[in-house]
Subunit: 235 residues, 2 copies
C-alpha cells in the first residue's frame, strides 16, 4: 500500500472530511450519550445504563444520527408517552458533555498549520447539516484554516456522489488532478474522491482485504495513513 | 391596589409563569444577542453594533422569538444569501452567553422554598415550546420545586386561553378558587387566570391606568407586587 504514488503532479488543494477525520466524533458522542442517559436514569428512567444505551443505539440506528428527537422516542418507548423532564435532562447533558470534551485530534492543528505553510489551499467536504458542521469547525477552533467548506446539505448530494466533489473543486478553483481528499470512510471519502478524479488518503480506518485488492487491481490513487500527522511527510 | 383581597379562602396551589417572572429572560436575551452580533461583525458582518441589533430586532418582531433561524434571515438580508460561518458564530455565541448568564432572580429560590414550606403545591403555566421551557427550569436549577409544568405547546392553546389554565388545574387536582397565578403579563397571565376563576398577582410589571381602572370596576381578584419575594407576605 505504501508504494502507491499520489497524483503524479504537484497537489494544490487538500480537502478534509470532518467527523472522525479531524476530531473523535464517535468517541465524544458515545461518552456524551452515556452521560445523558445516566442523568435520565437518576431522574427516573427505569433502565440500567446498559439497557438504556442499547435502546438509544437502536433508536439512532432507526432514525439516523442527524435526527434530533432520539430522547423523545426513547421515553415514549419506555413509558408509552414522552417525558419532557427526562428529554430535556438528556439533551442538556448530552450537549454539555459533548461541548466540554470537543477538541481536535492531538495532531490536527499542527498538521493543518504545516500543510497550510506549504502553500496548499485547504477545504472541507462533509456529509451533514451545514450549520452543524460549521459549528464543529468553530468550536474546534479550526475554521480559519479552510478556504472552502462544502456540505451535502447545501449541495443536495452526499459523498460519495460526484456532485459534491465537483462543487468543492469548482469553488476552490482547483482541478481534480491537483487535489487530494482525506477521510476515514472508504466508500464515501476515498471512492467518492477517486471517482471524481482526485487522489485520496484514508486515515483512522483500515482497509478490508477486498478494498486493498480493489485498489491494487484498479491501480487507484489511494494511500492509507494511521495518523493525520503523517500527511506532513506525504504532501 | 394593595387592599384587594386574594381569594377569600385558603389558596392551595400557586402557578408561575417562567420568562421574566422567575428569571430575567429579556435581559439575558438582549445581552446574548448583542454578544452574538459582535462576533458576527468581527467575522465580517458589515454593520455597526447598533444597526445589527436594530435589524435583528426587526427580524425577531416579524418571525417571533421562538423561530430558530433569525441569524439565517439576517445574513440573507445583508448579503443576499445565507452565510453559514456567520450564522454558526452567532448561534454558538448567543447560546454560550445565554447559558453563562442564566440564573433565577436573586429572590426566586428563597421565595419558592418559603412557599413550598408553607404547604402549597407549585406549578408552572407557560407559553412556549415544552422542551425549551423544561430546559430553562433545569438550567435554572428549580425544576424540583414544581409539581406540574404545563406549556402551551403541549396543551395546544396559549395563555390567556382558558384551556391551558383548566389543564393545569386538572393536573394539579386543584380548584380555580384555591389557586393563584403569578406572572408579568397583564393579558396572558393576569386576565387569563382571572377569567379561569383564579386569583392573580402581577410581578415585574406595572399596570396601565386603564388596567387599574378595569380591576377596580370589575372588582377583579388581582394584586400587584414589585418583587417576587413579596409573595412570602401574601401567601
Amino acid at each position: 500500500m505504501s508504494n502507491i504514488i499520489l497524483g503524479g503532479m504537484m497537489l494544490k488543494a487538500v480537502f478534509f472530511d470532518i467527523d472522525d477525520t479531524l476530531f473523535d466524533t464517535s468517541g465524544f458522542a458515545k461518552l456524551a450519550r452515556k452521560a445523558a442517559l445516566n442523568m435520565m436514569i437518576d431522574a427516573g428512567l427505569p433502565l440500567s445504563s446498559t439497557e438504556a444505551y442499547k435502546l438509544l443505539r437502536e433508536i439512532i440506528g432507526q432514525k439516523g444520527s442527524n435526527y434530533d428527537k432520539h430522547f423523545n422516542v426513547l421515553t415514549k418507548t419506555v413509558f408509552g408517552e414522552e417525558k419532557p423532564l427526562l428529554i430535556s435532562l438528556g439533551m442538556i447533558n448530552y450537549h454539555n458533555v459533548k461541548f466540554a470534551l470537543l477538541r481536535p485530534f492531538p495532531e490536527t492543528i499542527s498538521t493543518l498549520i504545516n500543510i497550510k505553510a506549504k502553500g496548499y489551499q485547504l477545504g472541507v467536504i462533509s456529509n451533514g447539516i451545514t450549520i452543524k458542521q460549521w459549528e464543529k469547525l468553530i468550536r474546534l477552533g479550526i475554521y480559519p484554516f479552510f478556504d472552502e467548506v462544502v456540505t451535502s446539505d447545501e449541495v443536495g448530494f452526499e459523498k460519495p456522489h460526484g456532485r459534491i466533489f465537483e462543487v468543492a473543486l469548482n469553488r476552490m478553483g482547483c482541478s481534480a488532478e491537483n487535489s487530494v481528499m482525506i477521510g476515514n470512510k472508504f466508500t464515501e471519502d476515498i471512492m467518492g474522491a477517486v471517482n471524481a478524479g482526485m487522489s485520496a488518503i484514508l486515515v483512522n480506518s483500515k482497509l478490508t482485504t477486498e478494498e486493498e485488492k480493489r485498489i491494487e487491481e484498479e491501480k487507484l490513487d489511494v494511500k492509507v495513513i494511521s495518523n493525520i500527522s503523517e500527511l506532513e511527510n506525504i504532501l
